[in-house]
Symmetry: C2
């Protein structure tokens, strides 16, 4: 029995279990979901390169964590007639690719699937602190060594941090993606939390809180991995999870990669 | 005649000329403005270190570009009883420092004072493109060389960019601070603009637009300097400007510095 794309989407949604709000961004962004499913690709970001690879794989359902059209709601009106946008939109239509954003579902799942994929890679599966939210209890290591550890485990080119390189870290709050300054600071305000490890961070909120913390005798730190670097392994995890209940469908994880070069 | 802090603030506001909206963040954040002015310090960010230096200078008016309490509106309610916040707030009160945020005024000034300070440092005073907004016309250089140039001129530890390192850049749009993805992309959408040089950037909007641009035959790039790195020289410029019409007052520029270490 051949599955349509819509049937595959419905099966995956059912498995997610958790509910997402009516304003969810997890919608189909393109294509005809009534066509037979040929294969699935899964990525952090549906860049043009990932779309090329999807076509090369013969897949027609691309599951992406982040937006396709450069803004959270995938609003396309402000992009009309822009050659970069039109080229991407045309490529997607021409190849009949259904792009499905899957952002809120995996974050709403318990455990958060994106976090689960990261934790597996970091080797912290048994480190969850039972008393503190999103926090892992490690054997004490310096902030600098924690940065080196995450960089190596996640194969990141460059990471950034704010704080005293020599401060000991044993309780690490993980805030993947782009959680916002207040969420990061709310984690740091918790007694005992030494450092927030995050995807990206505004540079005038949490950074300043961390710099001020030393004078208050409450040394805190912020480690910034990069948004993609903090969530890609979560999408790899999600791809493997789909394979467990749809073994008949070819599923390929495609890394989008860290967009930045550091000089 | 001794000037009060309020009188000094009013004189500076009058000189700014431009108007700011009723919801402006450019308000006094602390202290008693009726006290006699002893001296002014000017900074990008009123970190605890900058506050210490203000006290050491004997100044009691600290002019800062960015917030003091870790969020744009300087809302303090969510921070009550937090030791980092309370320590900073107590220090400011104890030393009677009036903190005045000056963000919207210098950006509303024509020319934008923050941009003027950066352009002076970059040596692009005569490069403004008459036809394109916020854009400078340079002798063509590669994206990589442009990154190296900005890094050297602004004495930055590390800069980041997205795009082909070898692509030639001759029209550079400058978007200091944290302008948001749409503003950055709106600059890149302009025919002829090769690269946006910005302070900070979300990693899932402009980055993806830039990555997609190559496939569309419209190579674009994004160079990210860091928020502080993209505005500090503007605040130095502002400090020198205050000295020109208040020569009797000691005015000291205090760099807050780039908060990040790169590993």
């Amino acid at each position: 029995m051949t599955l349509t794309i819509q049937q595959a989407v419905d099966r995956i949604k059912e498995r997610f279990g958790g509910t997402v709000g009516p304003g969810t961004v997890d919608t189909l962004k393109s294509g005809d979901p009534s066509q037979p499913l040929r294969g699935i690709t899964v990525t952090f970001m549906a860049t043009r390169q990932v779309l090329d690879q999807t076509v090369a794989k013969g897949a027609n359902l691309l599951i992406t964590h982040e937006p396709t059209f450069y803004n959270h709601m995938d609003d396309e009106d402000w992009l009309r007639n822009d050659p970069v946008y039109e080229s991407k939109r045309n490529f997607i239509e021409q190849h009949g690719i259904v792009v499905w954003r899957v952002h809120d579902y995996p974050h709403a799942h318990r455990p958060d699937m994106i976090v689960a994929g990261m934790i597996r890679e970091l080797g912290w599966q048994d480190r969850l602190d039972p008393d503190l939210p999103n926090t892992y209890r490690l054997s004490p290591l310096t902030l600098h060594d924690l940065a080196q550890y995450c960089k190596a485990k996640l194969r990141i080119k460059t990471v950034r941090y704010v704080g005293d390189p020599q401060m000991p870290c044993s309780r690490v709050a993980l805030r993947v993606g782009s959680p916002g300054g207040r969420a990061q600071i709310d984690s740091l305000k918790i007694k005992g939390v030494d450092v927030v490890v995050s995807g990206e961070s505004a540079e005038w909120e949490t950074c300043e809180y961390v710099r001020d913390s030393a004078a208050a005798g409450e040394k805190k730190a912020l480690l910034v991995l990069g948004h993609a670097n903090s969530e890609e392994e979560g999408m790899r995890w999600l791809a493997e999870w789909i394979e467990t209940f749809m073994p008949e469908i070819p599923v390929t994880y495609l890394p989008a990669g860290d967009p930045f070069r550091f000089v």
